[in-house]
């Protein structure tokens, strides 16, 4: 027991019958995808305490428990040994003491201990199963603890017996909340925590603080995810792939080198995309998703494939405008290299070509050039001998597709409950995100991407993504 003078952080003990989704709720709340969850009853064998810390301080705790296995028998023991209502809690303490080493009541002992130590119980029921008399015994035992608590209706299947459960639960708990552990978003988790505030008056302030800390941390995480995606754009837009050529290489050898170049360029882009995804997953505690990468549905569509271009990126009218601007931006770089002697002709021609390509053209990765091209001196000043090189990206479609795929993936990861053990579900993300964002947002992002392209074509690659781009990406990720 804690010292009388010490202030223990709020502790919520998640209890209920076996296989009601207790561990799923704890996994969703604690963002811990490693918590064992299985259809086999009794998967959780020991009480496990999860502490939410802000810095060095524990703000509150959640305790996952094995679940009731013999509640009717335990209640019968308690009723036999209790003489009056006044000694019920003491009888429970005695029950835990007597059965501390008893395998018959090992689960009941393990789940009751943290409650008797001062925790409040969160009683979880699976509302897809009907009410059973066993549940009444469980709730009665919890009532004997004398601690305040709340009930949470989880659902593991389509069936819904919530209407049957509610009037029963309200007889035992003054707070009853629905919480779908498998579909819980960050907002749902916060809502549940806000409900936790009501369990005890003295815990209202610390739980209020916990909510504020979580909101702040989520904001910071959003920023980091946006920075990771921004970093991907910086890297991808500036990428240059180079293949050396023998001095005496003939046209056939050069064609082969160009083909290898295209493959290597695409592979490098995919590798960058994968790295950014891993970072976003890591930030959100979804490391396990790496194992189910093959099932990434639409996101697994080849980055450079036609399906990807149709599903992600901008719509055609949106692209036409961007194409004009991107063409102009590329042309401006040519003007700059010509020292302004081209009188802006590069920008004008670039805009025309860019617009036409955006409307009519098929996607191409990047410009391919050799050691004689103007880009060679700027982008590969150290390169000697003959070579062919590709990059940076110039087609407005590809950066937008890349960005859109990254945003869709990040959004799916951010919305994914840590109680899920299946593949990343992108059924709700059949289409991209950027086309649905406000025009002002697209304009801002496009300007930032064009600035990156311009910088990349003059060999000035930023070490980190521009602040404005990160801010816009943060907006997209935070959008409902």
């Amino acid at each position: 027991m804690p010292d009388a003078g010490s202030v223990e952080p709020p502790t919520f003990v998640v209890v209920g019958n076996v296989n009601q989704g207790k561990s799923s709720i704890v996994a969703a709340l604690t963002e811990d995808a490693s918590i064992p969850i299985d259809a086999m009853p009794g998967t959780t064998q020991r009480a496990a305490e999860y502490a939410f810390r802000s810095g060095d301080e524990v703000v509150f705790r959640v305790v996952d428990t094995p679940g009731f296995q013999r509640a009717r028998h335990a209640l019968a023991w308690l009723q036999r040994h209790s003489r009056s209502v006044a000694d019920r809690r003491q009888t429970l303490v005695e029950f835990v003491r007597v059965h501390a080493e008893d395998p018959a009541f090992v689960d009941e002992v393990r789940l009751l201990r943290p409650i008797l130590a001062g925790g409040s119980h969160i009683y979880v029921v699976d509302a897809s199963a009907p009410f059973e008399p066993t549940a009444e015994a469980e709730m009665e035992i919890l009532r004997w603890t004398g601690q305040s608590g709340m009930a949470v209706l989880n659902r593991t299947r389509e069936r819904d017996h919530g209407r049957e459960w509610r009037p029963i639960l309200t007889q035992f708990f003054h707070l009853v909340r629905d919480f779908d552990a498998h579909a819980a978003t960050f907002a749902d988790r916060l809502d549940l925590l806000r409900a936790f505030r009501e369990v005890r008056d003295e815990w209202r302030a610390p739980m209020q603080r916990a909510v504020a800390v979580m909101e702040r941390e989520w904001h910071e995480r959003t920023h980091r995810a946006a920075a990771a995606i921004g970093g991907l754009m910086v890297q991808a837009l500036a990428h240059v792939e180079k293949r050396p050529l023998a001095a005496a290489a003939d046209a056939g050898a050069e064609a082969a080198a160009r083909a290898a170049l295209a493959t290597a360029f695409a592979a490098a882009l995919r590798a960058m995309e994968q790295a950014a995804r891993r970072e976003v997953e890591r930030l959100h505690g979804h490391r396990g998703l790496e194992a189910v990468e093959d099932q990434l549905a639409l996101l697994d569509a080849d980055l450079l494939g036609a399906a990807s271009f149709e599903a992600f990126g901008l719509t055609r009218p949106q692209l036409l405008r961007r194409g004009l601007l991107w063409g102009a931006a590329t042309g401006l770089a040519v003007d700059a290299m010509a020292g302004g002697t081209s009188l802006g002709l590069g920008a004008a021609i670039g805009a025309g070509i860019g617009g036409a390509a955006a409307w009519f053209g098929t996607p191409r990765l990047a410009d391919v050039w050799d050691e004689r091209g103007p880009l060679a001196k700027v982008l590969l000043p150290g390169a000697v001998g003959r070579f062919v090189a590709a990059g940076p990206l110039a087609d407005p479609r590809l950066p937008w597709v890349l960005l859109d795929r990254a945003l869709v993936h990040a959004r799916a990861v951010r919305r994914r409950s840590h109680a899920r053990r299946d593949a990343l579900d992108l059924q709700g993300s059949r289409q991209g995100l950027v086309a649905t964002m406000p025009k002002a947002w697209r304009d801002d992002v496009d300007a930032e991407l064009r600035a990156l392209v311009r910088a990349a074509r003059t060999g000035k690659v930023a070490a980190s993504p521009p602040t404005r781009l990160v801010e816009r990406l943060q907006q997209a990720l935070a959008a409902p």
């Binding site: 019958n17 076996v18 604690t30 490693s34 918590i35 064992p36 299985d38 259809a39 086999m40 009853p41 998967t43 959780t44 064998q45 009480a47 496990a48 305490e49 999860y50 502490a51 939410f52 810390r53 802000s54 060095d56 703000v59 996952d64 296995q69 013999r70 009717r72 028998h73 019968a76 699976d126 897809s128 199963a129 009907p130 059973e132 008399p133 066993t134 015994a137 069936r159 800390v213 702040r216 941390e217 910071e220 995480r221 980091r224 910086v234 240059v240 180079k242 293949r243 050396p244 970072e279 890591r282 930030l283 000043p381 150290g382 390169a383 000697v384 070579f387 070490a463 980190s464 993504p465």
Partner: protein
């Protein structure tokens, strides 16, 4: 952060980049999370929000890497110090040489004051001004340009891209590099001036020197006097003897053709007057040669330290490092999964699914569990439709009173029942409570009695067989009891999928 640390940081970040490229991200994450945890445990305040916090964190990280970390920083700074001394030595020698050249006196012609001022003062001032302009203009890192230059001589295409990466990193620290190079340069210049000054004093003290001035410009003695006066303005009050008088200037004007002083004075006279010129030249060298370099060096050293101290360390690679190193400001912590749950091998996901047999078409006693008690008739009817055989009898178990369970079991035992089907609502779990009832039945009915378990779902008030997925946990649980006459059975009702 000092230069040695910065070099080590860059070397280690480069190593980590290679590890990431080789797919060893998990290794780096584990390493840095452990270091971050250890730093936290030591009570250190970990903060990546400010430049100073990031620098402290990077330094602590390098310390924690210990033996596995890079050791290049100290070697590099040591090499830089040696290079600075060598450069200083060389500059000092050049200073000596320059002073000897400008103060060379062969007894035929006096030392031309103009030559001394032009080489040791004028040229230095021009160089310093050019360097300050270059410094203020900024521009690319010299080291980055050196790397690019080296890459041009490197065979193979990829080397160029690797060099590009290194050059990019160096470019991040271009400002710090500029100030360091500037400071280094000023140190060399100080050595140059000291060399020149020492030589100057030596020649004045130990040799005879005659000073004069000679120019092809249209410059009269009065103008030359004003020029000397301007140069001597800083020390005019403090050291008036080091300011040439108009008379001295007039007497010292030398014409090369035919090689004499314009006043007609002889060289020995000039030698006697040399003391009045050398003090001016030494003062000029001190004030216009050495002093600006000392000031520039002090300022550059200060700026170099400040630039290093203010390095933002906020680029992509550093951000990734700090993300690995620092736990989030708010985070959950809990036990390892293996400490709390069933071993992975014992979980249902690893259980081989097999078909569940249908309920046998033989005379059967029904036991209705829990909430199915009041719906015994409906259960009986459903089982009859499923098996084509009316159950022999129906009992109630799993209610609020344990005594009812005991009574039902006693009734079956008394009737020597040989087949019992325990029917539960779908969603009811195979808890110890239920398994204990089955164990009691086995004990009372004997090993040959057939015990089955079936689940019924309540769909909008209608009872229906539960789906196979709900039977699976039961099947797996009962299988582990090792009872050949105990198993899950599937109810099949015509019209139900």
């Amino acid at each position: 952060m000092d230069l040695a640390r910065l070099v080590d940081l860059e070397v280690q970040l480069q190593r980590d980049d290679r590890a990431l490229a080789e797919g060893r991200a998990n290794e780096l994450e584990a390493r840095d999370a452990a270091i971050g945890g250890a730093l936290l445990a030591q009570g250190g305040r970990l903060d990546a929000a400010t430049a100073m916090g990031r620098q402290q964190l990077a330094a602590a990280w390098l310390d924690a890497l210990g033996e596995t970390g890079p050791r290049l920083g100290h070697r590099a700074t040591h090499a830089l110090r040696v290079a600075a001394w060598l450069l200083g030595l060389a500059a000092g020698l050049v200073g000596i040489g320059a002073a000897r050249a400008t103060l060379a006196y062969d007894g035929q012609q006096p030392v031309n004051v103009f030559g001394f001022l032009a080489v040791l003062i004028g040229l230095q001032m021009v160089l310093l001004a050019a360097m300050v302009v270059a410094l203020l203009r900024g521009g690319d890192s010299v080291a980055a340009r050196l790397v690019a230059w080296a890459a041009r001589r490197w065979p193979g295409g990829h080397a160029a891209l690797g060099a590009g990466q290194i050059a990019g990193r160096l470019q991040l620290h271009a400002a710090a590099e500029r100030w360091h190079l500037f400071a280094l340069n000023q140190r060399a210049a100080i050595a140059f001036n000291l060399g020149a000054l020492a030589t100057c004093l030596y020649l004045v003290v130990f040799t005879d020197l005659a000073f004069g001035w000679s120019t092809t410009l249209e410059l009269g003695a009065e103008q030359m006097h004003r020029l000397c006066g301007s140069i001597a303005a800083p020390w005019r009050q403090a050291w008036p003897d080091a300011v040439p008088s108009l008379e001295l200037v007039r007497d010292s004007q030398w014409t090369r053709m035919p090689g004499r002083f314009t006043t007609g004075a002889a060289l020995p006279t000039a030698v006697q007057q040399s003391g009045r010129w050398w003090s001016f030249l030494v003062a000029a060298l001190l004030v216009w040669g050495l002093l600006p370099r000392l000031l520039a060096w002090a300022f550059a050293a200060h700026r170099a330290r400040r630039t290093l101290a203010n390095l933002p360390l906020d680029d992509r690679r550093c951000a990734a490092l700090f993300a690995r190193l620092l736990p989030p400001a708010a985070a959950w912590s809990g036990p390892a999964p293996e400490a709390i749950g069933l071993p992975a091998a014992a979980r249902l996901g690893n259980d081989r699914a097999r078909p569940v047999p249908a309920v046998a078409h033989v005379a059967t006693w029904l036991l209705c569990w829990g909430r199915l008690q009041p719906r015994q008739d409906a259960v009986r009817d459903l089982v009859a439709r499923s098996t084509g055989t009316d159950p022999v009898g129906v009992g109630a178990v799993g209610g609020s009173a344990l005594a009812d369970d005991a009574a039902a079991v006693a009734r079956l035992a008394a009737a020597q029942v040989q087949r019992v089907l325990l029917v539960l609502s779908a969603g009811t779990q195979p808890t110890k409570d239920v398994l204990e009832l089955l164990a009691t039945l086995r004990q009372r009915l004997g090993p040959r009695a057939h015990l089955g378990v079936a689940l019924l779902a309540d769909a909008n008030g209608q009872l229906a067989p539960a789906d196979a997925a709900e039977l699976r946990p039961w099947q797996a649980r009962l299988d582990r009891l090792g009872d050949a006459n105990l198993g899950v059975e599937r109810l099949e009702v015509p019209g139900h999928a």
